[in-house]
């Protein structure tokens, strides 16, 4: 009703624009359509294709591909590598972010640059770097060989390469969050009697929770999905030093597309699960906030408020 009256007053020229800052309907839908089409073509279709190819020969073929000894070994190795690399990088990321966000010291900007190094170096170069260091002809090669320690073309090399490549994710996510949070909450915890460790556990960590979760998700996805650096140090020994991405590549080049896609589907599934988990946690948090909001505040009369509890205060 009110709208109709207003339109009449404003006249025809104003009919199309609703509010000052709002785009016209056409522009809005065109933009939405472009964004959706892009997501469909570049994200959704490939994802569906992965699963379609994986199941192209039926469920039993799919399971068969996954449980073949070499693929199974690759899956296990990937999980082991991630299980080592992610926690280590979480600890490192927390320590680095803490140092950078809460303290001022000389060489701070150098440290920040160093943390970014793995992003700016090609993964293949990173892998090569470890070969040069620990390979047979490498810097420590003689020493390692004498003591019968295998790093290159073995699991330790893969872990090292993965650690290097996934090194910045947690720290990068945490630094801005910690800088924004500042140190006041921690100081407040100290004045309330909390020790440094308790302050970290109850105040610092929860306040960077979302940054940390997001960092872990990214770190984990990359740790499981890393190809370049790992392929250089792994040597690609089937059943021993193949990770899932290497296994996918190998199967594909052996013209076993269905098996390749079956393993690939696992990686894709992992991405979907972590995204789902993150969405779920966010939803849970939002619900908790909403619940607190709807609880009606009980206003007590002012006089009753200040007189009641005095006796036991001091």
């Amino acid at each position: 009703m009110a709208g109709n009256v207003k339109r009449k007053i404003n006249g025809d020229s104003h009919r199309k624009s609703r509010r000052g800052t709002e785009e016209s309907t056409v522009v809005k839908w065109v933009l939405i359509a472009i964004a959706l089409a892009f997501c469909l073509v570049f994200l959704l279709l490939p994802l569906i294709n992965v699963f379609a190819q994986a199941f192209s020969k039926g469920c039993s073929a799919y399971l068969g591909a996954l449980t073949s000894p070499d693929s199974w070994a690759a899956i296990r190795l990937t999980l082991i590598v991630a299980a080592i690399a992610v926690p280590l990088n979480v600890i490192f990321g927390l320590a680095a972010a803490w140092t950078i966000a809460k303290f001022n010291f000389r060489g701070k900007s150098l440290l920040i640059t160093l943390i970014d190094l793995p992003f700016s170096v090609s993964p293949v170069v990173a892998g090569l770097m470890f070969v040069v260091l620990f390979g047979l002809q490498g810097f420590f090669g003689k020493f390692l060989d004498d003591h019968d320690i295998k790093i290159i073309f073995a699991v330790p090399g893969i872990v090292l390469a993965t650690l290097f490549v996934t090194f910045p994710f947690v720290a990068r996510e945490l630094i801005p969050v910690m800088q924004a949070t500042g140190t006041e909450q921690e100081q407040a915890a100290l004045t309330l009697g909390a020790s440094g460790w308790k302050t970290f556990w109850h105040v610092t960590l929860p306040s960077v929770k979302w940054g940390l979760i997001y960092g872990i998700i990214l770190c984990n996805a990359r740790a499981m999905g890393e190809y370049g650096a790992v392929s250089v140090v792994s040597g690609g020994i089937s059943g021993r030093t193949d990770t899932m991405p290497l296994r996918v590549d190998k199967l594909y080049h052996e013209y076993n597309a269905q098996a390749a896609f079956a393993v690939a589907s696992l990686l894709a599934l992992l991405a979907l699960i972590t995204l789902g988990l993150k969405t779920f946690l966010e939803w849970k948090q939002a619900r908790e906030f909403a619940k607190a909001e709807t609880a009606p505040p009980v206003k007590t009369p002012e006089s009753a408020g200040l007189s009641g509890a005095i006796g036991s205060m001091n």
Partner: protein, 367 residues
């Protein structure tokens, strides 16, 4: 509990943020640390709390030297400028935090928090998170949290800085009421002289890391220890005069300055209320024109311009203004009822009580 600071100095990288400061706070007192920003007042508060360690000097709480005690061991309640509530905890958990750390029993914690929430009128908000509270509620939660484990001292850093003007007034009154009820020794930092004078028992005034004066609000207002205090507390007209034949001149204004040799430069100050105005041009010795009237509520601030171009600030009530039938551009006669010599050359003189008549300034009067 009483607090005493003895020769406290704090240096940050060679710069003295606090320089040889000594003062004491009596048990149950409500004390204000006042000064312009960068004056060192927050640093002093943080040293009392144990959040900063003094470079030199000693801090005593209840007669016990606490220099070597950590923040956790000092049993103080600290309210941060932006409250520093734990964002990931709801109101109940915020208030209960210190009690949990001190290993209180579950039921005792519940009772104590309920008691505090009632005291601070926060009942029903237990489950809310800090971002769901208003500014005033946040501050009340912060104070409740600081008081939860019954600290011996309550320290507040700029407690009214983060809220808008109207709520600020309410919160001031609440703090006074709270202090009155609980009688816990309370020290708060502020850069707002009005706030400090209005609610504290005594005021410590800092500038550039030095302690300028300690005293009751009325004392520092009426008997400022030096020029800084005189000009910082309330408004003051300050004139640079030169002595000639026993009289200090600035423009057409003259002040008796016996026993001062010719050529001596004196800085003379007087409060706006010391300027007496009449529309009878023969009543007072000086002539001036009213240039601007500033409306401040009950009080008006007036700017007079003398023939030499000298500008004087004065103030009066609306009624006085109406009675004199003043308006901008009107010519008046005026005199300076009392004044003080603030400084001679560059050195600071001890304050001088002046002239005949001291009007009783109420605290709300200075503008």
């Amino acid at each position: 509990m009483s607090i005493e600071l003895k020769n406290i100095t704090k240096q940050f990288g060679g710069v003295a943020a606090v320089n040889n400061v000594s003062f004491s706070v009596r048990e149950g007192e409500l004390m204000a640390l006042l000064g312009p920003s960068g004056g060192g007042k927050t640093t002093v508060l943080r040293m009392i709390a144990g959040l900063e360690m003094p470079t030199g000097g000693d801090v005593f709480i209840s007669g016990q030297r606490v220099n070597d005690l950590s923040v956790q061991e000092r049993n103080i309640g600290f309210v941060f400028q932006n409250y520093a509530l734990f964002k990931n905890m709801n109101v109940f958990k915020n208030v209960a935090f210190g009690l949990k750390i001190k290993k209180w029993k579950r039921n005792d914690i519940k009772d104590r928090v309920a008691e505090l929430l009632k005291l601070f009128q926060l009942e029903g908000l237990e489950k809310r998170y800090p971002h769901q509270l208003s500014g005033g509620q946040r501050q009340r939660v912060a104070i409740a949290r600081a008081l939860a484990s019954k600290p011996s001292v309550l320290l507040l850093d700029e407690p009214f800085g983060a809220v808008d003007a109207k709520i600020r007034q309410e919160l001031r009154e609440e703090l006074v009421k709270l202090h009155h009820e609980l009688n816990v020794t309370t020290i708060f930092v502020t850069h707002d002289q009005e706030e400090a004078l209005e609610i504290s028992n005594r005021v410590v005034i800092f500038s550039r890391g030095r302690l300028e004066q300690v005293g009751a609000p009325r004392e520092v207002y009426e008997q400022p220890a030096n020029e800084f205090v005189a000009t910082f507390i309330g408004v003051m007209n300050v004139l640079n005069t030169e002595v000639k034949d026993g009289i200090a001149y600035m423009g057409e204004l003259q002040f008796p300055a016996h026993d001062q040799p010719n050529g001596t430069r004196l800085r003379i100050g007087f409060r706006p209320y010391a300027v007496q105005v009449s529309t009878d041009l023969t009543l007072f010795p000086y002539r001036a024109v009213l240039r601007h009237t500033f409306f401040l509520g009950v009080m008006l601030r007036l700017e007079f311009e003398m023939p030499s171009g000298l500008t004087l600030r004065s103030r009066m009530t609306k009624e006085e203004y109406a009675q004199l039938a003043l308006e901008d551009g009107k010519e008046v006669s005026l005199q300076i009822r009392n004044y003080r010599i603030l400084a001679k050359e560059d050195s600071t003189l001890p304050p001088e009580k002046e002239f005949t008549y001291q009007p009783p300034p109420t605290i709300a009067e200075h503008i």
